[in-house]
């Protein structure tokens, strides 16, 4: 029973971690809580369904499922990244030197806009994922793990590993870290800070897109308001791990996923959504810098 919950929690946690990375990367560079990031995840879920339905109608799913799935994921990532890019350029970039309240409210505006945009274009009713993954799985330490769960955990882990390598080893990744630490100095060594910021939004959106598709496939249903609650939870995960810290977001996501599924099984499933908020509040009050975060430098 407990082990089963661990598997469920890990699946959920991987998804939270993928979304949390977007929050933490943007916060690391701009000190902005990108409130609309959860909506990108929601867009990812919808786009995944839309593209897969398109390929199904075109007959591609029937003839070769892997290609259809691959194209769906690819297109979804591209489109979500484009949304992330557009969001930054229109709603945040002009406010870069404004008081902190302004971009946060602008972000709330974007969030409301995107929710209603999807509701108006796609309808207010639940959307069904057009392909049903088999509920078959394998025995693993006496518990059942479906193939889809295994895929979700593996994909999350792989993406996190790739991101880690990208940030640590590549030229752009190093430039991102440099920009997060000192934007002026970064521009003085020749880094185009605007492009780095755009890249941050694009990568974060791409990860959220994958999270969105996986959740859509996992639950089989999505709705236009799933972004808000998932966004808050992923933000909690980011804060839990230490906002601005990439390993922290991964750890925070997994811890949150585990707490939620174990809490739902052993304490109360009605309050499942409240655990994230309670953890968030407790963490902020006890150690605002999070588990892996640098100690709070500015307190004001």
């Amino acid at each position: 029973m407990l082990l089963q919950q661990l598997i469920n929690g890990l699946t959920l946690g991987g998804v939270y971690a993928l979304i949390a990375l977007g929050y933490t990367m943007v916060y690391g560079i701009l000190e902005l809580i990108n409130f609309a990031h959860g909506e990108i995840y929601m867009l990812g879920a919808y786009l995944g369904i839309i593209f897969l339905a398109f390929f199904t109608a075109a007959g591609l799913t029937a003839t070769s499922l892997p290609i259809a799935l691959f194209l769906t994921v690819l297109l979804t990532i591209i489109f979500c990244s484009a949304y992330g890019f557009a969001m930054e350029k229109t709603a945040y970039k002009p406010l870069r030197n404004a008081p902190r309240l302004s971009p946060l409210i602008s972000a709330i505006g974007v969030s409301i806009f995107l929710q209603n945009y999807v509701m108006l274009t796609q309808g207010a009713t639940d959307k069904v994922f057009p392909y049903k993954f088999s509920s078959a799985g394998f025995q693993f330490l006496n518990v059942n793990m479906t193939y889809l769960q295994a895929i979700i955990i593996a994909v999350s882990a792989l993406l996190m590993l790739l991101l880690h390598l990208f940030i640590q080893k590549t030229r752009i990744g190093k430039a991102m870290r440099a920009t997060a630490q000192d934007k002026t100095m970064a521009s003085l060594v020749g880094i185009n800070v605007d492009i780095i910021i755009s890249a941050t939004f694009v990568i974060g959106a791409g990860l959220a897109a994958v999270a969105g598709i996986m959740v859509a496939a996992y639950y089989g249903l999505v709705n236009y308001y799933i972004g808000y609650i998932a966004g808050i939870k992923a933000f909690t995960a980011a804060v839990l791990g230490g906002i601005g810290s990439i390993p922290g977001a991964m750890l925070g996501g997994i811890v949150l996923g585990l707490v939620e599924s174990i809490g739902a099984a052993y304490i109360s499933s009605e309050y499942k959504d409240a655990y994230a908020f309670i953890i968030l509040i407790i963490i902020l009050l006890i150690k605002p810098s999070g588990i892996l975060g640098k100690t709070a430098e500015e307190k004001v």
Partner: protein, 236 residues
Amino acid sequence: MLKLSSVHTSYGPIKALRGIDIEVYKGEIVCLIGSNGAGKTTTLMTISGILKPEAGDILFKDEPIKDTSPHIIVKKGICHVPEGRRIFPRLTIMENIEMGAYSEVRTQKSELRNNLERVFALFPILKERAKQMGGTLSGGEQQMLAIGRALMSNPELLLLDEPSLGLAPIMVSRIFKTIKEINNEGVTVLLVEQNAKAALKLSNRGYVLENGAIKLHGRGGDLLHNEEVKKAYLGE
């Protein structure tokens, strides 16, 4: 090579530069001295594009750069080592140095390696600590890292803002020697220094800045013997 004509720069309501004319010719070392708050740092920041001048013109190799972004100005060949160390504290020393060569994507690998060798020869401590985080270095070591980082970018014009700040006397003379060496290799230098005597000795020409305006300018040696300069900046 670099020409500022009646440049005005403000921080909001505070006017920091009120019409500055400076000219730097190829191959020179030019120094900029002045008391605290005179506007030296502001001048360099305006040249490198961090601050936008309100009025006036800045020409680099006869090309206007006053509306160019800092990262493009770097690519054009101006490298600015700003005041304070401003190394990246959570990047390793090696990564900090690599960042110095960020805009040199087209430079040969071997040349970059030569630059690296030169930096390490100049500041062996950096080689020893290459894997350590920049923020763990002492103040003086961070200053070395900042200069080392700048040398990685093969600049045509190097803007140095108080490179000797916080360094032990022996390091100061090494830094000045290094500046001379770099200059001999063909890099033009615009140097801001509190250490006016050493700076003027090193420089071909100098400008004295006061309250956001150029008060005096002349050959380095002449300024060194100028009574006003002696009284105000050399403490004699």
